[in-house]
Symmetry: C2
Subunit: 168 residues, 2 copies
């Protein structure tokens, strides 16, 4: 039987295992730098930066949804952002991923969110079809811009020369 | 002279004016449902859902950056997400927008973020060129999926039939 429950600090090893499982699926197993200490510190302190729902089959964890809240300036309300969704390979195809997606929609509604968002690879047409059948829209015009690592440090140390606006 | 400072609850009317200014620029002036009460409640309570930096020229607000933190499961660290950046039209072209972008990069570094992200329209090549020159990458493969309004309510009330995994 499937149960979905909020993760606790003691689940950090399981969360990290599932993060690694997803990274392996994405063929990037060495990209995961997160540690159990990171998960405990950032997810289970006074101001959690994220939340996790664990999917358990017969009491054993088999998948997770990792999410946090963003904010819509148009709605004046938070939105729910699903960062990671993962079900271990032997447990796929039975509805567990969809149960997690629906469970997060319920959390979004309960928390007063007007939007629920995540990302998909543009070539993953089966996933896009699945999401659209659920009532989701794919925002094809909006691209994500990212700056990280040394480029972020360099930008932070950039001096910007601001000129006086005309008429000021 | 330009000053950049964190907004306070008393700035809610200014923040809302700038949100409306951006919506007009995006030709969607009627999409803004947010009120001053929303801004005060969600931005300036015990657990702020967002942060705002105001750009002031000679003491008068002329632009803003509206941001919040997301989380990278690979890095085990928060990221900074820039939701809105806006400079009022008479004040554009003097470096104020870039000063806001750099200021947020400094906040990202100070908060231990490994990533700084925002979004751009795929046809806005001048903006893409500007961001890439700053060291940013455009993630062309990743598309945003969104579900909102009645579709969100419908998804939340969906019953998912989960079948027993083989071997369980």
């Amino acid at each position: 039987m499937l149960t979905l429950r909020p993760a606790e600090a003691a689940d950090a090893p399981v969360i990290l295992r599932l993060i690694h499982g997803l990274a392996e699926y994405e063929k990037a197993p060495h990209e995961v730098l997160a540690t159990e200490a990171d998960i405990v510190r950032d997810g289970f302190g006074a101001k959690p930066m994220f939340h996790v729902v664990l999917a358990e089959w017969a009491g054993a964890p088999v998948g997770f949804a990792f999410y946090f809240f963003n904010y819509s300036t148009w709605h004046g309300r938070p939105g729910l952002y699903l960062e990671d969704l993962f079900v271990e390979p032997p447990y796929r195809g039975y509805g567990i991923g969809k149960a997690l997606l629906v469970h997060l929609a319920q959390i979004a509604v309960a928390e007063g969110c007007r939007r629920y968002q995540w990302q998909v690879l543009d070539w993953n047409q089966p996933a896009i079809d699945f999401y659209e059948a659920m009532g989701a829209s794919v925002l094809k015009e909006w691209l994500t811009v990212r700056i990280d690592g040394e480029n972020l440090a360099r930008l932070a140390s950039t001096h910007v020369h601001v000129r006086p606006p005309a008429g000021s």
